[in-house]
Amino acid sequence: MSKPAIASASAVAAPSAEAGAHFLHGVRRLLLAGGGLFFSLAATFFGLLVITFVIGRLMPVDPVLSAVGDRASQATYNQVKEAMGLNLPIWHQFARYAWNVLHGDFGMSTLTARPVMEDLIRVFPATAEMATVAIIIGIVCGIPLGVWAAVYRNSLLDHVMRVVGLIGYSVPIFWLGVMGLLVFYLQLGWVGGPGRLDVYLDGEVPTVTGLILVDAVIAGDWEVFANAFSHIILPATLLGYYSLAYISRMTRSLMLEQLNQEYLITARVKGLSERRVVWRHAFGNIQVALITVCALAFANILEGSVLTETVFAWPGIGRYITTALLSADMNAVLGGTIVVGTVYVGLNLLSDILYLIVDPRAR
């Protein structure tokens, strides 16, 4: 009996102080959780560095020999070896490597004879553009379809969505790309072919963001916009299809969890419309989890873009990596791997942070 009395007394006495303490407590928890996340990001990034370093050293080819050629004298060989830092102890080499990577120095690409970082900055917008269009398709279609599949469980729509999901998990994306090009480009002529633009429009609009769709809008050149759209729509739809399959499946199972809860019965008893019950109450509660799902879907799109870009001759980071691979340009491969890996890890972190901010229970 006495406890509530004390509590209410103190609340009356110093309401603002308690609220302040509560707020500080919340901030501290948030910072602690954020610190944990930061630590995990740092650890993961360190792991990425170690793995790429090891991969770079696994190469059966002697990097010094391939740089100087087999006619070089022993003195030249030693000199180059020293210049490349390969005479240093292995941990020293790693420290050097990590230092360089952290400063954005991935070395020179043997294929393009330019710094890898420069190349990556040049090709990244193409990937970002395709991935963004793809995730928009995935989210805009995937979430409503997932919600409906859960609401109308075991209906025709639910079964269709299950098949859509199964196909998405089973079909090779590069094959779908090849077949899509055959049907929609070569046979029907509905979409633009490989590449980001038709050749005659190349360089028509000035590069501002590197995203051709955005640059075309800035320049007000609607012909370029339409052409770029016709090129991006097929690969982005294919990539978007995979995230649609994933997002709708996750949305469905998250919604099913909510739809069985008793608070929805209360909401219905109160006389709320079914639409409000589903979209406001049930869907409102899964939004936080959906953020994570969408971030993961976006990360998967980045990975899927490696093969898609190869099929569609899309000059993005995926194609850059595969082209470099085929000519054994290790600096370029590792640089690309680190960038994709970092974005991937970063997206995971971002989803965790958003989760922390939106959902107080996670603190």
């Binding site: 696994l58 190469m59 090849v178 690309g336």
Partner: protein
């Protein structure tokens, strides 16, 4: 459901022995459990479809020389890019190789990849996960942190980097995929281990004098196995797709080995007029991945009903 079973039930004999409430031996109990598991699995038609597809793959791989109509590596440029015919059921590619035979032999390559990836990654995952879960403390923290690091990497890109360094080839592709596949099993095994580590039977084994490793290897790991198998079956499709992707990029199996992903890459060059050269191996990859997905879903429903 029960009415159905009484109609189907044989009067006595094997079925009664299998369904006995009080099995007389460990062997009988094992058989009975397997039988009940099978009955539960068989109620799921999609699971059965998946099983049939996987069995078909096994059949094709085992009897490839008898099923194939020609040697898939023999090139005959006079027969290049033929359409379907009685002699070449699915036509020929631009080297005049028989597509149907390449498809059949390709099932061996696919199976080889899947089995080897599993043989490499499942034990690593089981060992890491069981050890982390059983020992707990710092061992757990360190091992699971490493697992998380591997888990948060994009699988295909990492596999690409590995293959780039080790050189293209089927075995290097398998190693690369296996290195990215084990973390999932480690997580599953750890979760299972946490559930049993405080059990009485573990305490009993310990009082008998068994050491950590004996308990982990003989008593904890076997219990994690079913969950890991389910997870692995669901992973198979992903492994097949990654391997096919590497093959498509020319980094997996090297010619003349008939690999489905590489076959698509070859067929792509004549896609306009001879679309089937690329279409057929893609269908094969799709069907086999679908089979593993359906089988995995079915197995999960039987072994882990709470996940549906």
């Amino acid at each position: 459901m029960s009415g159905n079973e009484t109609v189907l039930a044989a009067p006595a004999g094997l079925r009664a022995w299998l369904k006995a409430d009080a099995p007389g031996s460990g062997w009988q109990a094992t058989c009975g459990r397997a039988y009940r598991g099978w009955r539960a699995f068989a109620r799921n038609p999609m699971g059965l479809v998946g099983l049939s597809i996987v069995l078909l793959l096994l059949f094709c791989a085992a009897f490839a020389p008898w099923i194939a109509t020609a040697d898939p590596t023999v090139q005959d440029l006079s027969l290049r890019l033929q359409s379907t015919s009685a002699e070449h059921w699915l036509g020929t590619d631009r080297m005049g190789r028989d597509t149907f035979s390449a498809l059949i032999y390709g099932s061996r390559v696919t199976l080889y990849i899947v089995v080897l990836v599993l043989v490499i990654s499942a034990p690593i995952g089981l060992l890491v996960g069981s050890t982390a879960g059983f020992l707990g403390g710092w061992t757990d923290k360190v091992l699971m942190r490493i697992t998380d690091i591997f888990f948060s990497f994009p699988r295909l890109v990492l596999a690409l980097a590995f293959v780039a360094s080790l050189g293209p080839g089927l075995n290097n592709a398998i190693i690369a995929i296996a290195l990215t596949a084990w973390p999932a099993y480690a997580r599953v095994a750890r979760a299972e281990t946490l559930a049993v580590r405080k059990s009485d039977f573990i305490a009993a084994v310990r009082t008998q004098g068994a050491g950590h490793w004996r308990i982990i290897l003989r008593h904890v790991m076997p219990l994690s196995l079913p969950s890991v198998i389910v997870r692995a079956t669901l992973d198979m499709a992903g492994i097949i797709l990654t391997a096919a992707g590497l093959g498509f990029l020319g980094l997996g199996a090297q010619p003349p080995t008939p690999e489905w992903g590489a076959m698509i890459s070859v067929g792509r060059e004549n896609i306009l007029d001879q679309w089937w050269v690329a279409a057929v191996p893609g269908m094969a990859i799709f069907i086999v991945s679908l089979g593993f997905n359906l089988l995995g879903d079915g197995l999960r429903d039987v072994l882990d009903p709470k996940m549906t």
